[in-house]
Symmetry: D3
Subunit: 321 residues, 6 copies
Amino acid sequence: MIDPLSRWAQYGEKPDYAGLLTFAGQPYTEDPAELAGVDVAVIGAPTDDLVSDRPGTRFGPRAIRAASCPPGPHLEAGIDAFSVLRVVDYGDAPVLPADAARSAEAIERTVGEALAAGAIPVVLGGDHSIAEADVRACAAVHGPLGLVHFDTHTDTGREVFGVPRSHGTPMYRLVEDGHVDGSRYVQIGLRGYWPGDDEFGWQREHGITSLFMHEIRDRGIASIVDRAVEVLGDGPTFLTVDVDVLDPAFAPGTGTPEPGGMTPADLLWACRTLAHRLRLVGMDVVEVIPTGVGSADVTALVAERIVRETLTGIAQRRRDG
Amino acid sequence: MIDPLSRWAQYGEKPDYAGLLTFAGQPYTEDPAELAGVDVAVIGAPTDDLVSDRPGTRFGPRAIRAASCPPGPHLEAGIDAFSVLRVVDYGDAPVLPADAARSAEAIERTVGEALAAGAIPVVLGGDHSIAEADVRACAAVHGPLGLVHFDTHTDTGREVFGVPRSHGTPMYRLVEDGHVDGSRYVQIGLRGYWPGDDEFGWQREHGITSLFMHEIRDRGIASIVDRAVEVLGDGPTFLTVDVDVLDPAFAPGTGTPEPGGMTPADLLWACRTLAHRLRLVGMDVVEVIPTGVGSADVTALVAERIVRETLTGIAQRRRDG
Amino acid sequence: MIDPLSRWAQYGEKPDYAGLLTFAGQPYTEDPAELAGVDVAVIGAPTDDLVSDRPGTRFGPRAIRAASCPPGPHLEAGIDAFSVLRVVDYGDAPVLPADAARSAEAIERTVGEALAAGAIPVVLGGDHSIAEADVRACAAVHGPLGLVHFDTHTDTGREVFGVPRSHGTPMYRLVEDGHVDGSRYVQIGLRGYWPGDDEFGWQREHGITSLFMHEIRDRGIASIVDRAVEVLGDGPTFLTVDVDVLDPAFAPGTGTPEPGGMTPADLLWACRTLAHRLRLVGMDVVEVIPTGVGSADVTALVAERIVRETLTGIAQRRRDG
Amino acid sequence: MIDPLSRWAQYGEKPDYAGLLTFAGQPYTEDPAELAGVDVAVIGAPTDDLVSDRPGTRFGPRAIRAASCPPGPHLEAGIDAFSVLRVVDYGDAPVLPADAARSAEAIERTVGEALAAGAIPVVLGGDHSIAEADVRACAAVHGPLGLVHFDTHTDTGREVFGVPRSHGTPMYRLVEDGHVDGSRYVQIGLRGYWPGDDEFGWQREHGITSLFMHEIRDRGIASIVDRAVEVLGDGPTFLTVDVDVLDPAFAPGTGTPEPGGMTPADLLWACRTLAHRLRLVGMDVVEVIPTGVGSADVTALVAERIVRETLTGIAQRRRDG
Amino acid sequence: MIDPLSRWAQYGEKPDYAGLLTFAGQPYTEDPAELAGVDVAVIGAPTDDLVSDRPGTRFGPRAIRAASCPPGPHLEAGIDAFSVLRVVDYGDAPVLPADAARSAEAIERTVGEALAAGAIPVVLGGDHSIAEADVRACAAVHGPLGLVHFDTHTDTGREVFGVPRSHGTPMYRLVEDGHVDGSRYVQIGLRGYWPGDDEFGWQREHGITSLFMHEIRDRGIASIVDRAVEVLGDGPTFLTVDVDVLDPAFAPGTGTPEPGGMTPADLLWACRTLAHRLRLVGMDVVEVIPTGVGSADVTALVAERIVRETLTGIAQRRRDG
Amino acid sequence: MIDPLSRWAQYGEKPDYAGLLTFAGQPYTEDPAELAGVDVAVIGAPTDDLVSDRPGTRFGPRAIRAASCPPGPHLEAGIDAFSVLRVVDYGDAPVLPADAARSAEAIERTVGEALAAGAIPVVLGGDHSIAEADVRACAAVHGPLGLVHFDTHTDTGREVFGVPRSHGTPMYRLVEDGHVDGSRYVQIGLRGYWPGDDEFGWQREHGITSLFMHEIRDRGIASIVDRAVEVLGDGPTFLTVDVDVLDPAFAPGTGTPEPGGMTPADLLWACRTLAHRLRLVGMDVVEVIPTGVGSADVTALVAERIVRETLTGIAQRRRDG
């Protein structure tokens, strides 16, 4: 394990732009044995083979890492996640370009290694098709999962353009395969023009809860979060965040943006609160297409903060015992 | 008429980035005879000769088309505009660079062809000077019109820098020429530092209703929309949307941006609701300066959605009978 | 003194993109003698030697000037600041690259010249380290100052990476040196992960008021502004605005952006209102990293409007007597 | 068939930014019956599923069309290709995202339609994997082909990352499958660090001629072109141009750029001269990743000119009889 | 007159990014009386009303100034132009948006003021239509002029899209009106697909010399320069440089780029040499569309150097007596 | 030591965009003990505190790493440097923002660790001021060094803007301090307008050889390289490459670009050839300001290849014995 902070030990922090590129400057290892005692393992899943429109999410994991700021106390929550949780960067899953099936296996296997060591996996996408792999890996350990899913789109297509494995289909497959329990699956932020009656019919059959963007607008985010907590209860839950749930102004670097979306203020608060109130066993943040350098890439930046707020909530929950 | 979907007929949709570039992938024709039975004709007006600051709106129409997503049911309204309305892309008006007068004639003539066929014209700008041409064409058919005008600026200058025909003057000319009825003219979103007492004095003389950005902030968009409906009543009405009414974060690609503007959540809802409650006979969306590719251009993207929400409202109204 | 408007005198305004580059097209001088009778002197401080992450603010002053729109009446406030106040562009302080100490002296001296002439200095940064120089210059004339400080970060570090003079430390030094009165120092918009207990402990010792971003979210900006006015009272006050207080969507061009920030609607209103209600003796706007041309640079644009709203508030106060 | 020029008939040309988006403003059809009498059919192949590094070429065909300038006489060659050849834009092949196999079929079928009508297909990529489909379609009509291949890379991998179908393998498959005659296959512009001994050994076995970038540097482009003509002789020949053969300064928008490449002056001249001296039965230009609007996208622009120079050479050959 | 260097007097130079924005940091005046004794007056002409494709050159003059580096000795020529010549920045001509005729008058008048004072005007465009105004002003003083014209296009159209006044027509009008002597008019760098037989026929009638890009390629720039000097002789000569004569890699920010163009090495040398060997009475550099900040805008940067090399040549000539 | 290839072991290479970010995907360590047996240690020096114009080079080292392609045989040289040399990425020197002196110490110390282990240091800047630290470290081991210095500027200022430590002064200090032997110091590519007589006088006194850009243009790069080899002979030599020696088209991401520069074809060949023919004991490549992602950043890309060509030359020399 390499700790990027070592060379800057006397200052207690290092500049974000210098030193080994890891998530939030945390220690790095690719050795499963070194995961012992680790609370959270951050894993990159740099894929975009299965997107339906603009590609580029393969560059997401590095960009999210590069947008990190140093650890420190969350000014609203009053807790520094990194002082409560032992977080490591477990590197990228060994994905392959133009081979989505082997990439999925690689992601599932790498996430599985983290889980085997008792760590909560936090996966940096990549396109949303990675959810099939990472949620499956978590369900293999924890059984059928609850799912909190922030997104513009339901991603419950049976197929997209006749293709069964797509970034628009993972949730359909996870529910059908029993890895996600439809009655404990909450979608938040839906808007736009997809999907249609078929998919929503299937969703109703499986008891899936859809909370639309216009409900956030009308009822406020706190009410929506309460509803999600009510549905999800105490069981093991996975959090998946597609950055396109945000309005494109806040996350322009994504492949299927839809105007009229959430604000970071709402989304970040919701992630932290849900992590505090639910029993999260894993998370991913997906669909970041980087275009800039370091924190100049506002989409990667907000994705980094989505993770960090979630870690803060996990730390709050742990502190609360 | 060419239907870009034909080659993808077996999938029911085509990728946004492939096939003939038309609005929302709708059929394309330049033949007025083929407009028979068409409900909505989308027309490009790629001009920017008359702007006062940053140019580039001549690239707007193509960019708005390229930011389209496929048709589908509006997740809040529960209706797919394209299954209710027959929409065609009628191509661009044959504008000329550096000849604003002939461009205006070309726009007026092309919009007139759509009107003659009984279609509602939806014009993609271009700078706001096109409103003089497209509103005039509508007024020639429907008589003096009501006007709903989303904008930072009133565009009611007698002249800008001594120039009588400018993107800052169309509304003055339309009212003076009797094509717009001042008592049925509502401006929404005004802010910034223009115009001055003279122009507002003239506006008062003509009974024009100005709803400022700070009123949206203080009273909420629903109240503003109600007031607009009250003023406009049942008469024929034109909707003109300058994307600079949005805050620059949401529409950075525009020539005279002004911080402190509307959110897409409000604007999109307002366009749909107004289209539902008013009798629209035409619309335009203007002042988009593209800088990116496909949906990566957030300004073109939100402009496309402004049109689509309006079409959704028109479809709702038609469904309601 | 050169008035950029002269060549366009017959039109009463000039295009923003043409003529001598000055703030809002106002007259330009570098001669202290010509400051007699001037109400506001705009001064550039193009520095970035002391930043901790992304540099580039040395290009800020020119970009803010280039994002200007012409003077005119503020549509909400109903007053044209430039018709009430005599504003000149006093040029840039003669800073030097790679010599932060001499740059600070140059800024302090140049601001001092404006103050000596009775003008209110408005300083365009530059990184936030310039606040040490410009506030000190004001305090030399007016005595210990109240400070309204919009920012994500407190900038009250004793040191950053072991460096005592940084864009993260000016407020510590100003309070310690007695130029800012801690009991009349209000921070607005704090969020993120910095600083820690030490710094907040020091802040409490000095009676500094911290108003966090989550308080703006929960209580509304009007309440926050009221609280600031209450703390600051009637004494001489300096306004310092770090554009990173805005959400990165609204100010992407800044070095340490933090998602979940203020909207321009709130910030611009707050600056104007505070300028109206408080006795401002100086202001600065800092941390703009330009990337675009003219008003296409949305960060420079909003920074320009931050100044203009403040001038509007000052003009309102002066009008009120 | 729709002729975008019709609406501008009185001017003899239309602005590049206006009207239906087709290659060089040429007529558009998707109807094979309308290809009768057509000399050249331009076909888009918007794919990037099989790339090994940066994706985005799916946006290539539209960008190449949008970078067109109007037809006119080539100032060096003294001939207007469009007055000699009847060129139509035959639209895009109905490719699908995330389904490379069906996309390849679609490309091969669409190119086959053009060939069946007697037209020379000119295919706008897309990534280089499309060459397998479009060359195969040509070989089905003309028998085993000669191949002139401008590229940094040989694209003769058996597999890339264990994947047999990739943008790094089409030439291997075409030769192995007998669609390209190794003894009439000339690669021009090779440089960098790929492939290795295995691939070059295989190339030698098949008699493939490799002309490296350093040979262009040392011997001049005219000598290289002479050598290619010598190898290719009079048989049917396909021209495939990967824009990464150019130095990245001239074609920054490509997925695997390699510094030290060709200049457009050399490449454009070579394409025209080869088209004049060889019997071309088809061509493609590939690996364009657009990032800008219209001719502001320099990579799309040079790709458009690569096609146009080739058409000029074909026209010269036809004129010469 | 204001000298931006004054505040940095003790260092002998100022940072490029600081201080009043003028060409090369030279003194600024708008007062004709202060032009007495001035050798060269730099004048901005920020227009783009008459372009046929991509606009944006109205931002050119400021960008060219902002790309300046400090004066100093030319390392090849061994002379510092600014120590030989007294250069001032005479500001921008008072152009108006959307009023090309009045803008042309303003340019002609402002250039005339410089000429009346005995200064050589150096005009920073703006689109190429400004040449009609600035050359006319020079011809009014010096009589019919020789013209050295670097460009991809001849700009000798009678009209473009039916418009007689365009950036594609100034040279036609200047020759027809007798301001340029066709027998002393040399075009250098022509390529691409415009104009056609009509225009070249007209050119032959007027004895205009066209030196094509392929001649530079085949004969070398030195031979081309020799030929130009031979044609132009000792008479008064104007130099006009359209940056699109460069390959788009070197000048991407221009409205009608054409691949296969000149290198800066050739163009800069040629400008300096021509200025040394000919009797220049004025120059302009046109068609710069800025997109970046300071020297990061490579097109503005090379335009600045085109001016500076020309000034160096003028200084060499003056030194030689 | 962590080998990023491990997870992709079965494919023999990994995608450039995936896995731990190291130079060319080589193993990573921060432990000096692990440098035993290493031939080349790559070290990042992410600084820009001492630049005189555009900053941003602190992001250079990561960008250069991210622009890597996999190892492989050099197609001209016929050798794979990474199979001859054992290369490791030794991480970044622990630099600090806003503390140039401590950053220089950190660089010198880190480079010294590599040297102590017998490895050749290859330093990725950062601005050119790092040369003072890295050359000094090499001279401490090898005695006064020869220096091959590709650059637009001599960087031999005594001071820049009165500042003695700047990116414009390292060579002056290295020669004055005896770390570089003036008689074995060759500058290649000088052009533009700096420095002046004083600096060149000092250079002559120290026997420094200046080879100007115009000499490359007139004599060819091979002759220039021969001259450099002649001057440098067999002694220990350091290679320092400022990417601004390239024309800005090829390296737009740099702080003080100067048109009319070298081509990558010449520069890459020269670096390889010099590394083959000289006894290099260290190198750096500096002044890269990244703006893009991965190989889309053409400046970082060419910087990566500058290193790689140099490694190829070192490998050739080693193979030759």
